[in-house]
């Protein structure tokens, strides 16, 4: 079972990699079509961009501003058709990848005879699986955001690659400190919220890029925004994902506090992991407040969300690998 789990990891990474390539193909094919149009009718392109900017300003509920990439029916170009095909293949391969990913976790759990969240390798596997699953759920509800898949798949390949190459740990039973039913509750909540916050960081970053693009910026990172959904859509998606994940994160911290009381004698002790969980919580709370305050610009608020994700990464990698504390269960030497 353990060997099967390791093999499935390779399958999952490979699937995400293929999905990434297909998304990139969709991106590239679409781009070529647009580049062609720009060459032929530069004036029209400008008008379309202008419409996009105007639409993003007025954010009535449900009103989607016109998108730059909407190709008029008269444009006979095989690019978009092929691009859509590549995109659909990418999504299908992502589903396969997520299934293999689920297999990795399940077989590992069976092999270890416990919940597969006992060390950092397993934690990263579970967090990325939640991220991938949540992505597919969101995608099924809003097919228009498919272009974000490139960046989701990229994050998956990177994180799983790091997990497999750097964090890999052989299966061992839990240390006594982890042997508690709170292990299931606390770590499940932490995995769920981390996975959702990981996914939420993708539209947040893309919003910042797209927002710059819609304001007419055409230097490097903003050019990535050419084919992603409209800034207002991305921003709303970012907010929805965060409002979903934040209470789960709050619960994860609270469940951790209850467990810490039983295991270490105090519910809060400013252990490095606790401190960074607190920092993340404060930053995400800041994001939600900034988002609810009309005087704070949306891109400022979204920057706070991105900062929040940076603190999550610091908590996962920085604290586990460089700072010793009570949460030293990473198992990475």
């Amino acid at each position: 079972m353990a060997a099967l789990s390791d093999q499935l990891l390779v399958v999952a990474i490979f699937a995400y990699l293929v999905a990434m390539i297909c998304h990139a193909a969709e991106y590239a094919l679409g781009n070529r079509a647009m580049v062609g149009r720009t060459v032929v009718r530069p004036a029209r392109e400008r008008v379309l961009v202008g419409a996009g900017v105007g639409g993003a300003g007025g954010t009535g509920p449900g009103a989607e501003p016109p998108r730059v990439e909407k190709v008029p029916a008269a444009d006979v170009d095989r690019g978009p058709g092929r691009a859509a095909l590549a995109g659909r293949i990418a999504v299908a391969v992502t589903v396969l990848g997520a299934l293999a990913h689920l297999g990795v976790i399940t077989t590992r759990g069976i092999a270890a005879d416990r919940m597969p969240w006992g060390n950092m390798y397993e934690f990263v596997l579970s967090v990325t699986f939640v991220g991938a699953t949540a992505w597919l759920v969101v995608l099924s509800r809003r097919p228009a955001i498919r272009h974000l898949g490139l960046f989701v798949a990229l994050a998956m390949v990177l994180l799983l690659g790091v997990a497999g190459l750097v964090l890999y740990t052989p299966i061992v039973p839990l240390v006594p400190a982890l042997n508690s039913y709170w292990f299931v509750i606390h770590v499940t909540a932490a995995v769920l919220s981390s996975g959702l916050l990981l996914l939420a960081a993708v539209p947040a970053v893309m919003y910042l890029i797209r927002n710059g693009y819609e304001q007419g910026k055409r230097s490097f990172p903003y050019t990535l925004g050419a084919r992603v959904p409209a800034a207002a859509t991305l921003e709303r998606l970012t907010f929805r994902l965060h409002t979903f994940a934040f209470p789960i994160w709050t619960f994860a911290v609270m469940a951790g506090a209850v467990w810490a009381e039983a295991a270490w004698g105090r519910y809060w002790g400013w252990d490095p992991k606790e401190t960074w969980a607190f920092i993340s919580w404060v930053v995400y709370a800041g994001y939600l407040h900034a988002r609810a305050t009309p005087s704070v610009k949306r891109n400022v608020a979204t920057w706070i969300a991105v900062l929040g994700f940076a603190t999550m990464l610091m908590n996962l990698f920085g604290v586990n690998l460089f700072i010793s504390g009570l949460h030293s269960y990473a198992g990475v030497n």
Binding site: G265, R266, V282, G286
Partner: protein, 578 residues
């Protein structure tokens, strides 16, 4: 943290007065402090201020690491210490940030509590003049009912009341004013928001209460009745009492370690620990209790947590006059394989029985390393397995003045290094490895025997009365958070008008085309149901328009609005058919 958009009504401007500079300064400072922008900055500062607490060693967590940091960075450490960097979470600047933040929070939620209380008691406001300008709008015609005969206005009111009934069933807060219906829903959003912020304050109160009235002590407890421990301050190796607690407040109980069980994997990784103790609480019969890492021993007014364990070798020393003394000193562990390092001291030995005089320069001590499982080959300095598979004790004997009478506090796990440096305490002979039961005769004819070992546990005894407050507040905080993040405040209005265009609302009324569309689409009355007066009632049929306004970000409002309008129209039709 004032949410401007949730204010029910802007407070009225006070009449212009002669400005008092001090008052103006105070008022402006208060406004500045309670503004959202300041709160956000304070939140951000709080996050930044917590970072050094995770990167630098903290006294509250590990004083040894702080001391080590002082040794490594002799110049930087005192500067950092003066800034409070080793006690970040108790430092003035960290406290200042969160106290300002909570002041800002109070300054924000008190007016909001007042506003929300008013909003809960207020009736939904009258409809705006132009319902069509709202984000959601619908209109349709309804046939007049039998009540039309009673004449003017009643018909519209009846229809409005029917609409209000539908809304009330769907738990809207409704106000009917003549032919108009105003309804609002989603008050729980603000209720949850306020609950969240109030419980945040309650968490802080609970933390503070626990810090004032709580206490804790750490204690190393060796097995056996002769080593039992009673809960008094002197018996703790290290303790911390809250400012409002003194020695007499500690609940009286005694613990004796009767058994300790640990199991390990072949790699030495621990699988389970459990300690069994005899508990004597005042006024209760003595009982036996077992506890382990994740299930502490809960006593009356105190909890006992198992932190670690190790071995205490039993060393018997027989002096040159044949007198024997036994030391059962715990050897604190230095690694995961439970290698223990410690000392066994024999102060009252080598007393000449003839004179009965004690020679302070003939005291004896042993520095030792205890290996629960010896390696197969030398050097015998590190254990290779945490359980006692083949125990061995490496002892280095010292003779001379131990320096214990000087009254200078020192570690009980180390020999006084000053005495060794000054030559008052001398090493006699090389070290020797002993197995259980082995005896070693020293140069002066005295002997030392490694008898065996006992286990010890390290315990933390704690009491925090603020825990329950924090737990309950946290649970409520989560409830409030869910309510405020999922709740959606929205309003709908309905206006029933006589279908006669001349009697339509002064706001221009419905678009004739649209009205015709709606009428043709659905609610045309069944002719079979019309009474003989139907000719006049068609003239008295009314026209309904509805508008909806989401007051918070709510993408699904259009759908809800359409369902609501459909339900209202369905109910209208049913009423007619009855």
């Amino acid at each position: 943290m004032t949410l401007v958009e949730d204010r029910v009504a802007a407070p009225e401007q006070p009449p212009p007065r002669r400005p008092n500079r001090l008052w103006a300064l105070l008022r402006n400072s208060w406004r500045q402090l309670t503004s959202m922008r300041t709160a956000l900055v304070l939140l951000f500062l709080l996050a930044v201020a917590a970072i050094p607490g995770s990167l630098l060693p903290q006294r509250a967590i590990s004083a040894e690491k702080v001391n080590a940091y002082f040794v490594q960075h002799p110049k930087l450490a005192p500067v950092l210490d003066r800034l409070g960097a080793f006690e970040v979470f108790a430092s003035v600047w960290f406290s200042a940030i969160y106290l300002l933040l909570f002041t800002s929070l109070i300054g924000c939620i008190v007016p909001r509590l007042r506003d929300h209380y008013r909003a809960l008691r207020a009736v939904p406001p009258a409809p705006p003049r132009h319902l069509r300008r709202l984000p959601q709008y619908a209109s349709w015609s309804v046939a007049g009912s039998g009540d039309a005969r009673s004449g003017g206005g009643d018909d519209e009111e009846g229809t409005a009341r029917a609409i209000a009934a539908v809304l009330r069933r769907r738990r809207w807060r409704v106000a009917v004013r003549g032919g108009t219906v105003s309804a609002e829903k989603g008050y729980l959003k603000e209720t949850g928001n306020l609950l969240f912020h109030v419980t945040l304050l309650a968490v802080l109160v609970g933390v503070g209460y626990g810090a004032w009235y709580g206490w804790h002590g750490n204690r190393l407890l060796v097995g056996g009745a002769d080593k039992a421990f009673c809960n008094t301050l002197q018996q703790f190796d290290e303790q911390g009492l809250g400012p409002r607690v003194d020695d007499g407040d500690l609940p009286p109980f005694c613990l004796e370690l009767t058994d300790f069980k640990a199991s390990y994997l072949d790699s030495g990784q621990p699988k389970s620990f459990s300690a069994t103790v005899r508990v004597d609480e005042r006024g209760r019969p003595s009982r036996s209790a077992t506890f382990s890492v994740n299930s502490p021993l809960r006593l009356h007014g105190a909890n006992v947590y198992l932190l670690g364990h190790g071995y205490a070798p039993i060393i018997r020393y027989t002096d040159r006059y044949g007198k024997s003394l036994t030391s059962i000193a715990p050897f604190p562990t230095t690694d995961a394989m439970l290698t223990g390092e410690g000392v066994a001291t024999f102060q009252d030995v080598n007393i000449d029985p003839k004179t009965g005089k004690r020679d302070p320069n003939q005291q004896v001590a042993f520095e030792g390393i205890y290996l629960p499982t010896m390696p197969d080959q030398p050097p015998y300095v590190r254990s290779v397995f945490p359980a006692e598979r083949s125990p061995g004790l490496m002892l280095i004997p010292y003779r001379g003045n131990l320096g214990l009478e000087a009254g200078i506090p020192g570690s009980v796990y180390q020999l006084d290094q000053r005495q060794i440096r000054t030559g008052k305490l001398k090493q006699v002979g090389d070290g020797k490895l002993l197995r259980p039961g082995e005896k070693w005769t020293l140069d002066d004819g005295s002997s030392v025997e490694f008898v065996g070992s006992r286990q010890f546990v390290t315990l933390s005894v704690r009491y925090d009365p603020g825990e329950k407050i924090v737990l309950v507040s946290s649970a409520l905080l989560l409830v409030g958070l869910m309510l405020t993040l999922t709740g959606r405040r929205r309003r709908v209005w309905f206006r029933v008008l006589p279908a006669d265009p001349s009697a339509q609302s002064p706001a221009g009324g419905p678009d004739p085309d649209r009205a015709a569309d709606s009428n043709g689409g659905t609610a045309a009355p069944d002719p079979a149901l019309s009474d003989p007066l139907s000719e006049s009632t068609t003239a008295r049929s009314s026209f309904v328009e509805a508008g909806g306004l989401p007051r918070t970000d709510y993408s699904g409002f259009a759908e809800e609005f359409n369902q609501l309008v459909a339900a209202v129209r369905r109910a209208g039709t049913q009423e007619e058919s009855e």
